[in-house]
């Protein structure tokens, strides 16, 4: 078993901005009081570029604002796919719900052939796995690769022994350099509403450690959090793509390296060799957080 040791170097915006000069773009359809767009990612040739959104399916104007801001950033940073952290459709799953809470807010991205890969949240019905635009291939948990990254979407609503066994089997044969998990419930979170999912962590964390998982992306808590590395693994909570719980982060928990609970957000990622760059962006285009994870 190869144990990956990670070095986490937070290159604060200044360094990244010097590597990738800030690009500005103003357009008329931006949400009210939108900030000038600044990209804190290097945009290297051949890198894997993707976005992350979580807890999106509210169908609200705020969700559409986030979708519109993603389109603007896509013009600067042409990400190929989007990972969805679950709660893709709140409150009902009739055909019109798919339209209002997913297809319409992200229409411009879908039209540009950006692929969405979903995971199931606690508001999602099982048959979402069959929806073509969620690319779940009929599976509640699945794996796919992009470049040298293996992505694993897990169903954290129902982590039964079959799924645990599948995860172990897959990881034991994994040859990809980067191993990225994404699922709904956060094993670590300092949000007051839900917080860390200890019982899920009890089951999945030993597996992540055993097989050298690098990064875990989650949602559920309607805030942004970059958790301090836990036993060498980097955890993000990105659960405010369509719903926000203002002031929900418990700043005293000491868990989060960076958190944000004042507006909705999405994230951008770029993986180039042993470096994973990330940027969290608010609904209005403000950069909330950025940095780089270095794989060793």
């Amino acid at each position: 078993m190869r144990r990956t040791h990670l070095l986490f170097a937070i290159v604060i915006s200044a360094i990244l901005f010097t590597a990738a000069p800030a690009q500005k773009l103003h357009t008329s359809s931006a949400p009210a009081a939108s900030a000038p767009l600044k990209l804190a990612l290097p945009i290297k040739d051949g890198s894997v570029k993707f976005a992350v959104i979580g807890d999106t399916g509210s169908g609200t104007e705020q969700q559409r604002d986030v979708g519109a801001m993603m389109v603007k950033y896509h013009a600067l940073f042409p990400f190929d796919f989007v990972l969805m952290m679950g709660d893709n459709l709140y409150g009902g799953e009739a055909p019109q719900d798919f339209e209002k809470k997913f297809a319409e807010p992200y229409k411009a991205l879908l039209d540009q052939k950006v692929k969405f890969y979903a995971t199931l949240g606690n508001h999602d019905q099982a048959l979402q796995v069959n929806y073509a635009n969620f690319n779940m291939n009929g599976k509640e948990y699945y794996r796919f690769t992009k470049g040298k990254i293996a992505f694993y979407s897990l169903n954290s609503n129902y982590m039964d022994q079959k799924q645990v066994q599948w995860l172990e089997d897959q990881l034991s044969h994994e040859t990809a350099e980067w191993k990225v998990m994404f699922f709904h419930h956060p094993p670590y979170s300092s949000a007051k509403k839900h917080g860390s999912d200890g019982q899920l962590r009890e089951v999945v964390e030993p597996i992540f450690l055993k097989y050298g998982v690098d990064v875990v992306l989650t949602g559920h808590d309607h805030v942004y959090e970059r958790i301090k590395p836990q036993k060498g693994i980097y955890y993000f909570v990105s659960g405010a793509g369509g719903k926000l719980r203002t002031g929900d982060v418990d700043k005293q928990s000491g868990l989060a390296e960076k958190s944000y609970d004042r507006d909705l957000h999405f994230m951008l990622f770029e993986v180039d060799g042993d470096r994973m760059y990330f940027q969290a962006i608010s609904r209005t285009g403000e950069t909330i957080d950025s940095g780089v994870i270095q794989r060793k």
């Binding site: 009739a94 606690n122 796995v129 069959n130 129902y158 022994q161 999912d197 089951v203 999945v204």
Partner: protein
């Protein structure tokens, strides 16, 4: 070196013993066997019913998903006209599950588990056999540590909590197949 070999041998013997005792434990739980038979019978019935439902591909549209779900719900209800509470969770099965839940939820360290289940917003969920779980309601996360102790289910079925009640739900159609009141301690 010799000591290391002895340790390995001891671990191997323990593993064998543990494995065989587990097998014996599983075989000696007649209540689980009863439950499994009920589940298997349901799956056989479901497979027949499903054969008449429209096919659902992995690349479906929302309309196709909706049509499949509603057809399956109706067909399952029609196929089990006399379905009633307690068909799967018979008294002996219910006792076994209640004991399992009680053991799992004991201790201070399990307080979080209780909170997690009870925080699920399930107001307005009418628990009624043969009727679907409402799409507007939140689904409780089934604790992974608990699922490891409950009788395993085929992929077509799911356990779910609504307050202290435990449901058995058809995964695709979300039809409530059975429920057990006051399952949680």
């Amino acid at each position: 070196m010799k000591r290391k070999r002895h340790v390995c041998l001891l671990v191997f013997v323990c593993a064998l013993f543990w494995g065989s005792s587990l097998a014996v434990a599983q075989k000696s739980a007649p209540e689980i066997q009863i439950f499994e038979k009920q589940v298997n019978d349901y799956i056989a019935l479901r497979n027949k019913v499903r054969a008449n439902a429209p096919k659902l591909s992995k690349d479906s549209t929302p309309e196709q998903i909706h049509a499949y779900r509603t057809t399956l719900q109706d067909a399952l209800r029609t196929a089990r006209p006399n379905a009633k509470p307690g068909e799967f969770f018979r008294p002996e099965v219910a006792d076994f599950i209640r004991r399992t839940l009680k053991a799992e939820f004991q201790g201070k360290d399990r307080q979080e588990l209780r909170e997690q289940i009870f925080e699920t917003e399930t107001q307005g969920v009418v628990i009624r056999v043969n009727y679907p779980y409402p799409q507007s309601a939140e689904l409780s996360e089934m604790p992974a540590t608990l699922l490891a102790k409950l009788p395993p289910l085929p992929k077509e079925l799911r356990y779910r909590f609504v307050g202290r009640n435990m449901l058995l739900v058809d995964r695709e159609s979300d039809v409530i197949i059975d429920y057990m009141p006051d399952a949680l301690p």
